[in-house]
Symmetry: C2
Subunit: 392 residues, 2 copies
Amino acid sequence: MDNFVFYNPAKIIFGKDQEKTAGEWIRKYDGHKVLLHYGGGSIKKNGVYDTIIASLKANDLPFVELSGVVPNPRYSLIQEGIALCKREGVDFILAVGGGSVIDSAKGIAAGVLLNEDEDLWEDYYMFKRGPEKALPLGTVLTIPATGSESSRSSVVTNEATHFKRSMAADCMIPKFSIINPKTHYSLPPYQIACGCADILAHLMERYFTPTENVDFTDRMLEASMKTVINYAPLAIKYPTDYNIRAEIAWVGTIAHNGLLNTGRLGDWASHDLEHELGAIYDIYHGEGLAITFPAWMKYVYKQNPKRFVQFAQRVWDVEFSAEQEERIILEGIHRLERFFTELGLPIRCSQLHIDHSRFREMAQKIMVNRDHEGEFMKLYEEDCYQIYCLSE
Amino acid sequence: MDNFVFYNPAKIIFGKDQEKTAGEWIRKYDGHKVLLHYGGGSIKKNGVYDTIIASLKANDLPFVELSGVVPNPRYSLIQEGIALCKREGVDFILAVGGGSVIDSAKGIAAGVLLNEDEDLWEDYYMFKRGPEKALPLGTVLTIPATGSESSRSSVVTNEATHFKRSMAADCMIPKFSIINPKTHYSLPPYQIACGCADILAHLMERYFTPTENVDFTDRMLEASMKTVINYAPLAIKYPTDYNIRAEIAWVGTIAHNGLLNTGRLGDWASHDLEHELGAIYDIYHGEGLAITFPAWMKYVYKQNPKRFVQFAQRVWDVEFSAEQEERIILEGIHRLERFFTELGLPIRCSQLHIDHSRFREMAQKIMVNRDHEGEFMKLYEEDCYQIYCLSE
């Protein structure tokens, strides 16, 4: 086990009707003028928007709105938000939506407090660095997936350069996040599937570590993966069952709040491989992960077969006899692919009509500003290219 | 799953040599004058005391010392600490030791800031209430057991009245806790056994809930219990194996930081039954729990046999056929008793030469200021008495 510092001060307010308390929490965290940041019209259709507006008004909180966040949130909207906050004297940001909205809000929160000579994109996102300070941020999570509601990180696409990059810092951890699983009922099934793939990916990226002697966090990760695997199909089948949605929502937050990678190095290659796919083809993050993760697994498993055996046995209940190591491993990966397929997700690029023509370009872009990619097995441009080929 | 708020801002600094940074962290949390609070001589023998003193001096932090905390920490020492802090203008408390030292420090931290008309014991401990504010507190954990290093609570014995009571509040969560498993090497085996029993009890108390549909936290609890069950005997057998100690230390903190009871009601009857034993007979908390927990289980399992079946199957790998429900349950409890016995702990009062003469008195004291005891099954005086009889 490696040395670590674990710190996550996000206050999670979880359960039925909790979004009604948004204004009170902003007051408790000393907000006076709010930027209400959200995506398209879904929060207006499901009533969350009206509830939040009522809560802000009931707490005498003036606010300005910035909507229009899209999946793979755009850097240009962040720039717009920064200018708006400065002009309006905003001192608290409330993000209402999924990970894209929250990531966009984090970019704005950090950007508002930068010095004149700092450039948010070039100085921070491009180097995975986080700034020292940010405006306080609260969230109302309406899509369980990215874990951004309690994470340190923000992932954004610069549409001018087609780079999708992340930055992370403690100052961007939300002060509070409100999670009401009932507000997730109206999500389309495909979006639930994508969200569950993202949650499972966050867990697997922590699981496939080069660090040894991490049994406790292994078991916590296995517990979390089993929860996603059991409840994701049920969430699609029974969209208005509160307890099913609650399981998915809570595991989604814990998957990415820092706890499950304590003392161990993660491997984020599958996420970064997906980021390049998403930057060029603008696919959903979760569907991209269902494609890149199995391909990555097939390329790297020989690096540490025992870990892949444990994954197959403890997570997927593969019970072939112990001598058949490779069969156990491949069956584990097969069951992962079968799980994604049952959720209705693609597991190959071709299913999204993406061919190999830009694989080399994507492999090159991954290596920009990086010595290597991944930790379970260190990857370079050619490795990434080969993994994309396996995903074709 | 119930609605919940989860908030734990304790910063955990975990790993080799981390105690050297204590002074730096106090500085970061704006401490200027420190109360160094500890127990007996063990931290002087294992070198931790010297390391801390050097760190305080290197960071120009003046300090006063208060030692003498004993297991089942005494309210009288807390009163002494409060007076000392007020006299010396202390603005930060550093607790170096196990749960008793940290619980004592929390009492002092809260007591220093009370108003003149408030009484720490009568107004707070006796009613399980926590105060609004407390001095900032840091810890260096030298005994993994109570989870007090990141919990909201403090358990203290009032030697004048023989009451052992707890209070809890967010303001008593330590700002930081330093955990170096190497500093646990020198603990006597029996103390490790007691600590592991306490950790397992914290997990079981969350596990045996009356709340339904809590599968994710069930699985996380099972993962944590398996870790304790696997590593506790190894920690005794191989006292200087870092990775074994690290597993125990980290699960000990997570067991009690609030995460694993999110959305579910716990049942603290076994702990409270032990508190009365400890208040009268001054036994170790962990050995008391090894006695009260199996007795409690035998008394309550018919309340919800399915939960006890899951405990036996998932935690203890009991694989009898499904029809034999009672046999499965009793085997699970038996394996728990066998585990305690293997650690060298008593599982009956008679092993500590405690007879039934004061069972009635203890059962009466539990009900003072309480409507009922426990939540999995609501207990009253006669129930508590019967459980003590089962533990004889």
